[in-house]
Every structure is written in structure tokens, then in C-alpha cells.
């Protein structure tokens, strides 16, 4: 039975490719006219989705929550930094060299978590909220088959939703980041250096990629599950798992299976630690945390383990921007790859799915 099914799929894949070739050949003639009409249809979808997001209560509440928490954490960071600055004039001079501006995003006085923590925590939630009912709500409302009967390629629907959600995120986070920067200048009276500014922009882009990952996971679940509630809960479960439990699971695994007591040499200890780190890095939230740390704290010189011998000759100075970027390059690539893989699976499943008004 299973073999038969697979055989059919293979067959389908082949005929798909063949038909695509034929479609391409057939479509050569009035391609220009067609693409113009099609692009206006695509922008119509994006516009409508964007309008839907902006007017839905779900989004309004989430965005309000994010704004509130971010400004709350910003306020505590600002008061902490200002107190430190006011204590002496010398502090001001030191501050200029110490990437004080970036501290706005990372410092907290203990009452409220820092801006980075909040974004890392609420960003996924926003992504999931944007994506979890993208396809199945259309299906359940019976609008999907109506949409499919219009002269638009099928992937416009899923692409349009993704683009709209990503645009909303981009606008939200870029404006949030720039607002924080502007407020920082106003309150602290210290302008950010170009390097600090580039680090902030990079950080925001990274946030965007991270949220896009959760968005795509939401979209994937919305294609997989017919019920919006199921897809929302499963996406939230994945999010909780990676945010809270994954580290614990890895720790338990490291303790019980890798037997730290049996380690006798340095090499063993290093390889043990590297394995644990490698496992941790399977979690997108860990990747995000690592890379934001490296980006916003230039003092972080490495994300792996270093032995005492290796640090012996090192100069204790912050890394330049380009080196920090180099440091997080693998993490950023992995995050982007995870995002793309999620989207690719969702896209593939959606393109193959039967469009039926009911059932």
C-alpha cells in the first residue's frame, strides 16, 4: 500500500515537471500582458492581507503588547544607564568607547527583562499569530476554492500571505528599533556611532529572520492542519519546547548519557562540551540568542568554548563589527536556512493539496 502510494507520488512528480515544461512553452507569447495582470493581482492579495492584519484584533493586541513591554524594558535600561552616567564625568568618556548605546537593548535592572529578551520571547508569538491560520481559515470559510477559481497562480495565495506578514514585521521592527535609537539619543544625549548603528540594523534584520522562521512554521501548520486551533496550539507547543524545554532536555541528555564523571582528559571534556553545544544549536531560539548576544555585546569574542591557553595571548578589547558578523555568520545562515526550509515545505504541501470547498 505504502509503496504504491510512493510510486504514485513519483509519477506525479514526473508529470508535474513535464507539464511545467509545457506550460512554460505555451506561455511564451503573451507573457508580457499576463505578467502585468498577474503582478497587479499579487499586489491586490498582499494589500488585502496587510489590511486584514492591521485591522484584526489579534494583531492590534499583540502589537500593543510588544510596544508596551519594549518601552517598559527600554525605560528601565535608560534609567540604569543614566544613573551610571550621572555618577561621574569620567563615566561619560568611558561610555563612548564601551558601546553604551547597545546597552539600551541588553541592560536590565532586574525588574524587567531586557529589550532583546522581550523580542526573543514575543517575536515568535507574533510570527505564529500571523501565520497559524493563513491557509486553513481560508479553507474553512470556503474562500479558498473561490480564490482558486480566479485566474491567479496557486502560489500567489501563500506567497502573498507570507509577503504581507513579513512586510508588517519589517515595518514594525524597523520602526521600533529606530524609535528606540531616537529615544536613546534624546534621553542619554549620546549619539550612536556608525558601528553601533550598523549593529542595531543587523540585530533588527536578525529579529526579522527569526520571526519569519516562526511565521513560516505557523504557515506550515496552517497548511497541515485543517483546524486553526490545532495549528495554533501545535505551533505554540513547538515554540514552548524550544524556548523552555529544549535546554533542559539537552542537559538531561548530557548528564545521563554522556557521563561527565568519566571524563579524564581535556580533549574529552572539550569534545563533550562541543557535542552539547552542537545539540543546543539545533534550537532556533538558541541560535537567535547566540547571534544577538554577539551582535549587541562586542565584548563577546567567541561563541564556542575556549581553553585558558587560547585566551592567554588575546587582547581584552571589543571585536570590530565585521568580526562580530563573522562570528555569527553560521548562526545567521542556519536561521535563514531553517526559515526557508519551513516555507519550502509549506509551499510544496500547499501546491499539492486538493482544493475542495468542503472536506
Amino acid at each position: 500500500m505504502k509503496a504504491g502510494k510512493e510510486g504514485r507520488w513519483e509519477n506525479d512528480g514526473f508529470s508535474y515537471a513535464k507539464r511545467w515544461g509545457e506550460r512554460l512553452k505555451a506561455g511564451g507569447l503573451d507573457e508580457k500582458k499576463r505578467t502585468r495582470g498577474a503582478s497587479s493581482a499579487f499586489s491586490a492579495i498582499v494589500k488585502k492581507e496587510l489590511a486584514d492584519y492591521l485591522t484584526s484584533w489579534r494583531m492590534i493586541i499583540l502589537i500593543a503588547l510588544i510596544l508596551l513591554t519594549c518601552f517598559g524594558s527600554l525605560y528601565t535600561a535608560m534609567t540604569t544607564i543614566r544613573d551610571a552616567l550621572d555618577s561621574s564625568d569620567e563615566a561619560k568618556e568611558i561610555a563612548k568607547g564601551a558601546y553604551l548605546f547597545l546597552k539600551l537593548f541588553t541592560v536590565s535592572d532586574g525588574t524587567l527583562p531586557s529589550f532583546v529578551t522581550f523580542v526573543g520571547f514575543l517575536g515568535p508569538l507574533l510570527g505564529i499569530a500571523l501565520g497559524f491560520d493563513a491557509i486553513n481559515s481560508e479553507r474553512n470559510r470556503g474562500t479558498l476554492s473561490r480564490l482558486m477559481a480566479q485566474p491567479i497562480p496557486r502560489d500567489y495565495v501563500i506567497n502573498g500571505k507570507f509577503v504581507a506578514a513579513l512586510m508588517l514585521n519589517a515595518v514594525l521592527f524597523l520602526s521600533l528599533g529606530l524609535l528606540v535609537t531616537a529615544l536613546g539619543i534624546l534621553v542619554l544625549g549620546i549619539p550612536p556611532t556608525f558601528e553601533e548603528f550598523s549593529r542595531i540594523v543587523c540585530f533588527l534584520l536578525l529579529c526579522l529572520v527569526y520571526i519569519a522562521f516562526w511565521l513560516n512554521l505557523g504557515i506550515l501548520f496552517s497548511v497541515l492542519f485543517r483546524q486553526a486551533a490545532t495549528s495554533a496550539l501545535s505551533a505554540l507547543a513547538v515554540w514552548l519546547f524550544f524556548n523552555l524545554f529544549y535546554a533542559m532536555v539537552v542537559e538531561v541528555f548530557a548528564k545521563s548519557f554522556l557521563q561527565p564523571d568519566a571524563i579524564t582528559s581535556v580533549e574529552q571534556a572539550v569534545s563533550h562540551q562541543e557535542l552539547v553545544l552542537g545539540l543546543m544549536r539545533l534550537s532556533p531560539s538558541y541560535l537567535f540568542n547566540e547571534s544577538t548576544t554577539a551582535l549587541l555585546s562586542p565584548d563577546v569574542r567567541t561563541l564556542g568554548i575556549v581553553t585558558v591557553e587560547q585566551t592567554a595571548g588575546a587582547v581584552a578589547a571589543p571585536l570590530p563589527f565585521s568580526q562580530s558578523v563573522l562570528l555569527i555568520w553560521p548562526q545567521a545562515t542556519a536561521l535563514i536556512a531553517a526559515t526557508l526550509i519551513c516555507f519550502a515545505i509549506a509551499y510544496w504541501l500547499f501546491m499539492r493539496q486538493e482544493i475542495r470547498a468542503s472536506g
Binding site: A38, A41, A44, R141, T143
Partner: protein
């Protein structure tokens, strides 16, 4: 000469696993015609429609709609064909008018033109007052009418309606069917509608195809359908006369062409191969009985359907 075929299905098959949803279906629908695809739930009507639109790929066989192959050029087909799915849905938070305008945008119709067309269509389907009402507040009948307007936004050559009358009250059904007929007659639109509600289909269809378990059992207009399905007993004549005794009944049974007579008090149902109304009335008058009523019962689809499935496994 007959109009050219707009929809042509040739040996169309679709299998899901072991289940054969559509089985060697061949059918051609002519331009300007209203064709009713009739069959019980799960007969493969929706699957057939989806294949016509290129939303599902046939396992084997070919489809041509307006001369285009929907498997290869689904978008070109969808430019010419309007499809109203069963249980059509609209975006709840948008008004009826906004929903229509969105469809227009997806079809690449410029905004000004789209607005003009939307208002025309809303007037046509009698929803002008509800134009600014949220689609989520529409009743089922209103939604179905808005669906019809939505389908017509792109000025289609063909419209395919999947169970358009499902769940609407009788008055709504009549109105919808009148609308569909007017569209077909006045604008020359070819209409394919599927239904399991036979008397609805019967009212407006030029031709009907009876579709069961993926197979087309019979097609044609009502009379031909009856002849195809029941080689004998194509006519039923209903007679009310008094006194209706055994001798009269025997005389009627003796009329050539009569196959069977069923009696209920003073009424008779005469099943016959040809129309023998004249002979029956003559027999009654000549036996000095009074004839109160004589009518040829038209074969409703209900009748056809019921009699077809009578005594056999419908599913």
C-alpha cells in the same frame, strides 16, 4: 447546425487510492446551453468540476474548456470560466461590495470599471441594499446570490455552479434559478450546474446528465433521459373516472401499448410505452363512465431518480 462544444470531456478518469471517483466520463456541453449534472452526494460531481478548472489533475482522459486544456493552462481557463463552489464563502469582515472588488482586482480589472460592474451585478442579483453590509451577516440565500455576482465579475463565457440551490428557501431557489436562466438566455453564457435536488435542475436545464458512482448513466433532455433509463413505461397517464370497475380496468389494460395499471379507489395510473391518452379517454366514455381527470404525468427527475434506484443499491 448545433453550437460548438464549450466543454468537452473525453474518457475522463480520476482515482483516489483504490476509489474511482470519476470513471471514463465523456460529455460535451454546447455553447449557450444549461446543463445539469445530477447525482447523489459523492457521485463525483465536484471532482469532475475541479478537473474542468484544472484544480485537480485527471488520472487519465482529457478535458477541454473553451478549447483550452485546463491541465496545461489552468489560468487561461479560469479567465473564461466562473466557478461558484458549494458552500461559497466570503471574507466576513469585508462588505459584499468589497468582496466583489477584491475578485475584480484578482482578475486585473481596473478599479473604476470594477466598481461600475459590481454595482450593476449587485442590482442584478438584488443585493443593492446589502452592498455595504458585512458579508459575514449575509444569509445563506444572499451569500449564494453574491456568489453569482462574484462569478460574473470577470464576464465569463462559462459558469459552473456546484449545488447552487443547497440550503436556500424555496422562494430564494426560484429567484436564483430565474437569474441563472436569464443569464444564459440574455448573455449567451453556458451554464453547468450540479445538484442532487432534481426538481430544481429540471426547471431550468436544457439537458441533464445523470451521474452515479463516477459514471454517466444517461444524458439528454427529460424525455430522452426517461427513455434511456426505462425502455418501457416511458409514460404514465393518470386517470380519475367513476365508476371504475374491474371491466373498465380490463378494457384499459387491453389497450395496445399499456404495460401496467395501478388502481387507487377511483384513480388509475397507467404505465405505457406510447402516449395512449386518447385511447383511454375513448374507452372510458364508451363504457359510460364519467371521466373526471386525465393527465399525462411528466416524468420529474425525482421520479426518474426514484425509479432508477428502486430495487437496487443506490450507493
Amino acid at each position: 447546425m448545433a453550437a460548438p462544444a464549450v466543454i468537452e470531456l473525453n474518457n475522463l478518469c480520476k482515482t483516489y487510492g483504490d476509489h474511482r471517483a470519476v470513471d471514463h466520463l465523456s460529455l460535451s456541453i454546447l455553447k449557450g446551453e444549461i446543463f445539469g449534472l445530477l447525482g447523489p452526494n459523492g457521485a463525483g460531481k465536484t471532482t469532475t468540476i475541479l478537473m474542468m478548472l484544472g484544480l485537480t489533475e485527471p488520472t487519465s482522459g482529457s478535458v477541454r474548456v473553451c478549447g483550452i486544456d485546463p491541465v496545461r493552462n489552468p489560468i487561461d481557463v479560469k479567465r473564461k470560466v466562473g466557478y461558484l463552489p458549494d458552500d461559497v464563502g466570503f471574507y466576513h469582515h469585508m462588505t459584499g461590495l468589497e468582496n466583489l472588488l477584491y475578485t475584480a482586482a484578482l482578475n486585473g480589472i481596473p478599479r473604476a470599471e470594477a466598481e461600475k460592474r459590481a454595482w450593476e451585478l449587485l442590482e442584478q442579483v438584488n443585493l443593492t441594499e446589502a452592498a455595504h453590509k458585512k458579508a459575514g451577516k449575509y444569509s445563506r440565500g444572499m451569500r449564494q446570490r453574491l456568489g453569482l455576482a462574484d462569478v460574473l465579475m470577470k464576464r465569463p463565457d462559462v459558469i459552473i455552479l456546484d449545488e447552487p440551490t443547497l440550503g436556500i428557501d424555496p422562494e430564494g431557489v426560484r429567484e436564483l434559478l430565474r437569474l441563472i436562466r436569464d443569464l444564459s438566455r440574455n448573455e449567451g453564457i453556458t451554464v453547468l450546474l450540479s445538484s442532487h435536488q432534481l426538481h430544481h435542475v429540471q426547471q431550468i436545464c436544457d439537458r441533464v446528465g445523470l451521474f452515479v458512482n463516477g459514471k454517466l448513466l444517461a444524458e439528454g433532455n427529460m424525455e430522452r433521459l426517461a427513455q434511456q433509463l426505462f425502455l418501457q413505461d416511458s409514460y404514465v397517464i393518470h386517470v380519475a373516472a367513476s365508476p371504475l370497475d374491474a371491466s373498465l380496468r380490463a378494457k384499459i389494460e387491453a389497450i395496445p401499448g399499456v404495460n401496467k395499471v395501478e388502481q387507487t379507489e377511483n384513480e388509475l395510473d397507467v404505465y405505457c410505452q406510447t402516449d395512449v391518452s386518447a385511447a383511454i379517454s375513448k374507452t372510458i366514455i364508451e363504457s359510460h363512465a364519467s371521466l373526471f381527470h386525465l393527465s399525462r404525468r411528466h416524468f420529474g427527475l425525482d421520479e426518474i431518480y426514484h425509479r432508477y434506484f428502486e430495487g437496487r443499491d443506490a450507493r
